[in-house]
């Protein structure tokens, strides 16, 4: 094995390859499986693979939240609905939207082209990665060297953590970045939560109106 390849195939890169491949294959299976329950399960697997990719990027928080929210809550609801409606195989439903197949192919090609262009323009070179920095494995407790500094200012540590790229995905990093009024993320974040609240109220009022009609 040439030196450069051995250097390239470090364990994180290998893991990335495995799970990236897994993510792609489960995504494809999710689309191609005729059985809706299996399709949903492939989507769950896909979410797991992506979560592991997040882990490889040191975005622990994102990884776990992906599992909790998507795999744990949303997909359970999906499965609930699929099972409740007892959807059979799609052969049984006549395909009423024949026009969508060519459109889908066109859209897919367009997306692939855009992705290629974007990636090609943004990645400068395929330089072999060495390995992830050691500091990535540090926890906040480990960050204080015992004996090195007996008294530490807490906020200084947190600010430092939030700034480091390898710890930006940790809970501390995300919290520090997201809720910092000096940074531009707080307003969009609050707007998104407000939007969700509006959606909840809207759905409640829609459902409520239906029941009142039923009563009448």
């Amino acid at each position: 094995m040439p030196e450069s390849l051995a250097g390239f195939l470090s364990i994180p890169v290998l893991l990335f390859l495995i799970f990236a491949l897994g993510a792609v294959s489960t995504a494809v299976s999710c689309v191609l499986t005729p059985n809706p329950v299996r399709s949903a399960l492939f989507l769950v697997l896909n979410l797991f693979c992506v979560a592991i990719l997040y882990l490889l990027l040191n975005a622990y928080f994102l990884a776990v939240v992906q599992v909790i929210v998507y795999a744990g809550a949303i997909m359970v609801l999906f499965l609930f609905v699929i099972m409740l409606l007892n959807l059979g195989s799609p052969e049984r439903i006549p395909d009423q939207m024949k026009w969508q197949q060519p459109v889908a192919v066109g859209a897919g090609i367009l997306l692939a082209a855009m992705l290629t262009v974007t990636i090609a323009s943004s990645v400068p070179s395929f330089a072999p990665a060495t390995s992830l920095p050691q500091t990535a494995r540090r926890t906040t407790l480990d960050a204080r060297e015992p004996g090195a500094s007996q008294t530490m200012d807490n906020s200084a540590i947190l600010d430092d953590i939030a700034r480091r790229p390898e710890t930006m995905g940790t809970p501390y990093g995300i919290g520090k970045n997201l809720y910092n009024p000096d940074k531009p993320w707080l307003f969009p974040f609050e707007m998104v939560s407000f939007l969700l609240l509006v959606a909840v109220i809207g759905s409640v009022s829609l459902a409520g109106r239906q029941t009142s009609e039923e009563k009448a």
Binding site: V37, V64, V76, L77
Partner: protein, 491 residues
Amino acid sequence: METTYTIWQYLFTLPVHEIPWWAEVFRSILRVVIGLAFGLGLVPIYVWLERRMLGWVQGRLGPNRVGPEGLLQPIADVIKLFMKEDIIPTNVDRGLFLIAPIIALAPVIMSITVIPWNGSKSWGAVAPGLDIGILFLLGVASIEVYGVILAGWSSNNKYSLLGGLRASSQVISYELGMGLAIIAVLLMCGTLGLQDVVRGYDLRQPHEFVAGTVLNNGQGLINVLPLSGTGYTFYMLDWSSGFWDWNVFRMFPFGLIACVVYMISMIAETNRAPFDLPEAETELVAGFHTEYSGFRFGAFFMSEYANMAIVSTICVTLFFGGWLAPLGILNQVPISWIQALTQTPDSWVPWWANLINSLISALWIILKLFTLISMFILVRASYPRLRYDMLMRFGWKGLLPVALINLVLIAISLAVQHSFRDSLGTAGAWWVGQIIAWALMLAAMLVAFVSVRKSYASRQRDIASGEIPADSPIVRHPVALALPALTSTEK
């Protein structure tokens, strides 16, 4: 001899960053083995305890023939399950049917990894020091239900399907309350690492890690330097620390409310009575595992009991001080005793002192665990089962608002404390924050009381107007009222 001692040091005593990779692999395997033994090895004992305890409550004996006091009965049952034929009914979705029990069992085993059994950074858990412990638990808990749903769906049995449906609707109704209760602890402690949660860690306060530091749980560190190289930290043995420092009593009563919400949700999480809807045997035969037999049924059975143990351990870790003793003095063998015994200098303690102290920690966590398991069993013996819609209503209208308001109050109290800390000191800020939160809590209770009162009054009006029947007492009729008296036909 020298080599043997070095290997011993590599395997057991030296800090993580000073050992070769194979020693770390050995340590990891050993920790996994301990964790698995803890998680699964105790399952037969829970089964035995449940059956004997139910027997005791219900005025019967329970299994008492196989082995002393019937202790080997669960083992015999497991052997029987192993030997039984593994029936796969026709027309099931074969692949999913086969992996569903595995999916049910795997997350339970996965959650063992983050549960700390002592405070050591290298031996304290399967994966000690993982700083996303709580999130990991939530993530794993959220995928546990897949096993049940898939078993219910793939069995091609309507009872199983209903069981799976019930499981999925149950999980979305209680898991929110459970998550919010856990987040309350997270907020109080300011950390996601479970070992730190037990220590009562609060990152918002500046810490001085020097000898004699008193942590939030009242424990004092006598030294943060790893003693005898294992990284096991000795705590100051202090009468002033104890159960009142556990998270359950923290920011009273908000820690307690979170604890109660969590404990109710954990019964729902494990599908135990009175929330055993997915497998309610009198309604759905056996619910989601109706079609399972042999060892696949055994896997479901085992996952239920292991899950019971895991959620209890999480409860112990989050709220009841994990490996800590109820009184600080009982936490470990005093270091002075050991030094007096071995005539060693202050900076060195023998390896067995650490071993004894970790065993004491393990003893406390197991004692607390069995207390909670007994609670599970007594609850099962006492209460009727809820109905499906009652559970949903209870989860959405009961647990969720309580947990949410609790969380908001904790956040308010913490924010107030934070802003008053500089001017009033820690204790003064605590009182200010808590008094404000208590006042808000009383206001919330008042609102709740008024709304309950209102609905009660409207119900009384409906009763008075005859729209709904009143809760009438049983009438005792000395003679017949509704029908004319019939003549006697007997001679």
